[in-house]
Amino acid sequence: MQISARRLENITIFDVIGDIDLANSPAVRKALLSEIKEKKIPRVIMNLQGVKYIDSSGIASLVEGLKASRDAQARFILFGLSKSAREVLQLSRLLKLFEIYENEEQALSNERA
């Protein structure tokens, strides 16, 4: 898995490529918490277009990001979910708790879904 960050003013976009599982979910968690808790970025966006597989440890990292963003009154946004990633989030019954968009343009828009 590769995770890289792009910064656009007060927004950080993480581009993730590869599977998110126990081997690399700690790196996802660390990256998210660094932006949200330490750098206090008000909007953090995860580009998951390149993620074909995510397991419960990956979901747990996203949950950590969501919780931290709520504490910091920031926005934590996902976009580009694959069928498999969407199914796993649905299975966790957490899908509706996340702010999710189809593409980057929508995620960058100031309009909430």
Partner: protein, 143 residues
């Protein structure tokens, strides 16, 4: 025909880096014995979660401990449908009381989803402790 037909036996070391390879192995096997694409994804998720649980809980995150996995095709004797049976064996810690009770999904909690995913993905999820070994049996019927 034998009721249980061994398809594959894997001897793994507890290491999160093996997960990717195991996922890559199971999906074609499941497809070859008749599972559709959705079921193959479900089986892959269940197996990933089962190995993750062994690494995290039975072995406490320690690397290099043995995990044996057997993949069997059950040929449907005794009125049961044909199925894939996956058996994981480890010599890690005994699960804490209530560990296989599971936690409700849908809550903002960063843990406890693995067992829920296994149960949602498979028809049977049965853990037994025999001596110093854990045995987890996952079964999914071929529809």
């Amino acid at each position: 025909m034998a009721r249980r037909q061994l398809l594959l036996r894997l001897q793994l070391q507890s290491n999160p880096e093996v997960l990717c390879g195991v996922r890559g192995a199971i999906s074609p096997i499941a497809a070859a014995i008749g599972f559709n694409e959705d079921d193959c994804r479900a089986i892959t998720l269940a197996l990933d979660e089962a190995i993750t649980n062994v690494i995290r809980h039975a072995y406490g995150g320690k690397l290099g401990r043995n995990i044996e996995i057997q993949f069997n095709k059950l040929n449907g004797a005794g009125g049961e449908k044909p199925a894939l049976e996956i058996v994981l064996l480890d010599r890690g810690a005994k699960p804490k009381p209530g560990a296989f009770k599971g936690l409700p999904p849908g809550e903002l909690r960063s843990g406890g989803l693995g067992l829920h995913f296994m149960r949602q993905s498979m028809d049977k999820v049965v853990h037994t402790r025999a001596g110093s070994a854990n045995r987890l049996r996952l079964v999914k019927f071929i529809r």
